[in-house]
Every structure is written in C-alpha cells, then in structure tokens.
Subunit: 343 residues, 2 copies
C-alpha cells in the first residue's frame, strides 16, 4: 500500500467571509471617530460605562462597537477595559499631534464611494462611474475636503520629501508645488530652506487652505498662489524645484508625459522635479497599500493608476528628463521619484 | 549619561488606513463574482486578456480588480498570470462543490447594509436603524434570500451538527428544526438517521426553499413543514431533538429564555436541544469571526448579540434544561451548544 499523501493545511472560507464583511470595518471606524470614542479611551478609565457616557451612546452599541474595534486591531481590551494600542494612541486619539482621524471624512465621501456600488460596471467600462473626469473634473469641490482632511496623513511625508527634493541646497531658490492641496509639501521646503520662495498651484478654493497652512507655518511672506489647472495655467518660472505630489496617478501615461514636458520646460537647467506617488513593485500586487491604491484610481478617475517605478521612469524620460532616481519614504506607502531637468 | 531607552517598533498608520479603506474589499469581491472572474481564472490560462474577454470587461478594469483581489488574499499572481489560491479554488470558483460565492448576495443586501450608513446613530440608540425588529420583523422577505444565498456556507456545518445532535441515536425519532431557513441542518439529520422524521419551522416562503432542498436530498417523504413564527406557532411534539440554528443571536437574553422554555416543554424527557451559534470567548474579542458577528446583530436587530458560552449556558439553565455542553465545530466560526431536557 502507498502511504497517504501529505496533508495540506486545512482550508476554511474565513478569508472570503472577512472580505465580504470588510465594509463593516470602514463604518465602525467612522462611527467611532464621530462618537469621539478614541478621546474617551485616552482620557478615561476605559470601562464601558464611562466610554458610553462620553459618547452619549447606549451601552449595548458602545460595547459592540468597541469590541469590534479590538477585533479590527484599533483598540486593546484588558480585563474588560478598553485601552489604546500604540497605533490608536498615535493616530486616532484627537489629543495626539499625529492623529489622522480626519482622513475618514474624505475617504468615505459619497462622491468617492459611489463607483463601488456599481463596481462591476466600472470594471466593464474601465472608468469611474462619476461623470466626466471623475474626481479630477475641473473645480471639483472635493479637493477642498481633501486639503483639509488628508493633511494630517500627508504631514509626516513632508520632511522626507523636502530633504530628498532639496538635496542639501541652500540659498535663494524658487519652488513650484503643482496641485499643492493642503500645501504642506511646498511649505516644508520653505521651512527647510529660509531662502526658498514657493508658488502653490491649485484650484482657488483649495489654495485658501494652503495659504492658511503657510500662515500657520510662518512662511506666508514667501508663499505665492497660482490658481487654476496644472494643464492650463502658465507655470512662469524658471524654477529650481517643481513638486508633483499625489497628482500623476490621476491621469494616463500620455497625459503625464505632456505634463512632465511642461514641468521640465519650466525648470532651470540644473533644476529637478520631485514626484510623490504610491509606487507598487513591478508585480503590481505588492506592497499592499501602494498596490491596492490602483483600485481607488479605477473607481474615481477615467485613466488613473498606481504606476510602477519603471513606468514613472519611462514617463520622465519621454518628457526629456535626465537622471531619474527612486526614494522610498521609510514607514510610509509613498515613494519620491526625483528627476533632473538636464542630461 | 543614561543610555537611550530601548526603541519600540516603529509606528505607522497603515492599519488605520486599511480599516478606512476596507469597504473596497467588499465591493471588489462582489464585482469579481458578478463578472465571473473566478470561473475565468479556473478555466483559462490566467492572462489578463483572456480573463477580461470572459468577463466582457475592459483590460484596465480587469487588471486593477484582479490585482486588488491578489492583495486581498483572494487570488494569486505568478509571472504576470492570475491563478487560484487554494482558498479561491475551493470557495469562489463556481465549479467547486464548496463554492460560497452566493453569500455576497445576502451579506451586501441594501437592507442589511443600511444601518452602517448611520452607524454612529445606531450606536447611540443601541439598535438597528431598520424599522421595527429589523431583520427579524415578521415575514421579512430577506430570509428567502438568506435561505438561498447562505446555504453553501452553512452546508459544511450540517455534518458536524448532525453528529453532535444525534449523539449516535438510531431508530425512530422526531426532530424540529426551528427557523430552519435552507433546511440543511434538519435534512442532514434525516440523512444520518433514516428513521428520523423532521419538521421544518419558518415563514412559508422560506419553507419552500427548505422543501426543495429536502427533495434534492431524497428525504422529502420524512420532511414536514410548520409555517409561522417560532414565538407563535404550536410546536406540537414531543420531539427527540430540537434544532435552534443561528437563531438565538437575534434576540435578547429574556426572549431567548422564553423561547428555550417553549423548546424544552416540546421535548421528550430524554430529548435535547442543539443550538448552533457564533460563540465568542468570554473576552468578547476573540476569535475574530464570532466576536465580530456582534456588529451584524447591532446593525440589523433591536437586541441581538453574539452570546458567550456562559451566557448561552445560563439561558438554558434559566429555561429549566439539565446538562449543557459546548462543542466547537472544527474549522468553522460556529459552536454547537447541546442541552438535555431532563436533569
């Protein structure tokens, strides 16, 4: 008799069930933020009654919600009391300077979510179910919400991006921040180099958010505004550095190349472009966050994507740039692609 | 000088971002099932062009969707081609006898999801945003969808439940299957014991699904129907075994005790009740699936819950049952609680 074949690990449908039910996680976290649960956990003794009181919510609802947050890795529970995990203390307690709870506002906007309700059609058609160009339709007001809500998540990237983009440059310089949104990236360069002069480009209502942030950072007198579309306004220049942060992913490769040509022609011969992007590996399925970001682009744009480094590098070369280098930002899903204007 | 404190693992907000975006996973899997992606992957060479052709979908959309499924652990990608993981082959390919793809229909019904759109209010009020008793409102038509869509996920539980409930009993016996839904649990007992006579109790439109399944299983002549509410109809009896599968979690403890009293009074002195439930540990936050199930009960019922074993045991004792024992079903998130009618 032959021996029995070696047994494979037992199969269960758990991962399928978890994926089907995953939407619950989004809404549980959103509800917890709205109910100020993370402040209650940080401030109080962590028992159910005090959290429910702070949230002005039922004990049944609060208990089930908090237990669900523990299962989701967003709180801890010890001896029946809830307490922060290191992650929730840092990123979800409103008292933490690194709190990013506001991102839930932008990322669950009805406009942002509508394509998912008919995602099979979106996949069939290969484009967002939103009208026109989707989120990048001219003057789309969601970018004001983006500038306000997403800034805390982008803030930790500003320092690394600034260092990579500046490459130690001192002295007077001009910087253009295309689709600047909250403005934090250009503002950071103005902070790192006290002689840098920054021009923020975005829709006028968005620029008001950037200007407010420039004021707070004490660099308002070195911050100019260029309202309009990156594809239509005259950039002016020439600039030493042009920032393209979280922007190229909204467009197809040919559109990116056209924009990069315009960027290059607005740079000094020794200037450079610094692009911040979600850059998945060439397999397009790792690391998880940059790879998954392509889905957001499918659902919200006509042609956008999470481009690989070889694709981004190729776009820059087609636009006439010289040396292109890749700088992953540690502890983040983002990568900076730096491209020199000259050969 | 003191030495620097030992460094903690670097913190990132990745888990927060993943939870905010988790809704994408639900809709990606739903779209993939609607587009028949898992059949295409199982049948074809796994290249993008052939999958897109099978799905009658754009290559851009298909590529982004399939990559997203890989990131979500629902497909594999090797050398640019998509292929089944052992899990997707078993549970998502429609050619597999254990395919559970249909569960996405029930679990993403607009009725089932509506409470999540206002989950903070649900937590405040401590009950579903659905009118009346939520999903257990009399004659709620979603239970027909449940009986049809969820049967494949419940089918693997029928064998273990049947063995535990029968405890080796042979010979003539009468079985009542309360809120039988698809009917698979009672039908299994009729299959394991050729002298068992089963009565399925549920709303009349749901019983038509159970009856169809009894017919398919060849036990139709030993299967009776008792249409109506478990709280209102006369159970008849006495029975040797009464099944309460995935039912108690919809109600509060007092209602469960009342129902269990009615169950006990319909059992023979040596009969027993077999309850199938999601039973979390006493900490209520593990294991993940049974613990997370409480959220579904918050969102869809007035008073339901994922009860711990000590709570279920207590309910049975308050209803007058004798010995109560706990039987976790291997490789599933379910547990069978077996209770003897007599002391």
């Amino acid at each position: 008799m032959q021996s029995a074949p070696s047994q494979a690990a037992p199969l269960t449908p758990a991962v399928v069930f978890e994926n089907v039910q995953a939407f619950q996680r989004t809404f549980a976290l959103k509800a917890a933020i709205e109910l100020d649960i993370f402040r209650a956990v940080g401030e109080g003794p962590g028992d159910l009654a005090s959290i429910a009181r702070h949230a002005k919510a039922s004990e049944r609802g609060t208990r089930i919600l908090c237990d669900f947050l523990v299962v989701s890795g967003l709180l801890e529970k010890v001896d029946g009391r809830y307490r922060h995990s290191p992650t929730s203390a840092a990123f979800l307690d409103p008292k933490s300077p690194s709190c990013i709870a506001s991102i839930v506002k932008f990322l669950t906007l009805p406009d942002v979510r509508q394509s998912y309700e008919c995602l099979a059609d979106v996949v069939r058609n290969g484009r967002t179910a939103m009208p026109g160009q989707g989120t990048v339709e001219p003057e789309n007001p969601i970018w004001v919400e983006f500038a306000q809500s997403m800034a805390p998540m982008m803030a930790p990237l500003a320092g690394p991006l600034g260092s990579i983009a500046l490459q130690g440059r001192n002295g007077p310089m001009r910087v253009l921040d295309i689709a600047c949104g909250h403005g934090l990236f250009g503002i950071e360069i103005a902070k790192q180099n006290p002689q840098a002069h920054v021009t923020g480009l975005d829709w006028a209502p968005v620029l008001r958010v950037a200007l407010e942030n420039a004021q707070k950072a004490g660099v308002r007198e070195r911050y100019d505004m260029l309202p309009g579309s990156a594809f239509e306004v005259d950039f002016g220049g020439p600039y030493d550095t042009i920032l393209l942060t979280n922007f190229l992913h909204h467009f197809n490769a040919d559109t990116c190349v056209e924009l990069l040509k315009k960027v290059r022609s607005s740079l000094k011969p020794d200037g450079c472009a610094a692009t911040l992007e979600f850059v998945p590996n060439e397999d397009r399925v790792s690391p998880p966050l940059p790879a998954a970001f392509a889905m957001t682009m499918l659902a919200t744009t006509e042609w956008g994507d999470a481009y690989t480094y070889s694709e981004l590098s190729d776009m820059h070369r087609r636009a006439g740039f010289g040396e292109v280098t890749c700088h992953p930002v540690p502890l983040s899903p983002h990568t900076v692609v730096l491209a020199k204007a000259g050969k």
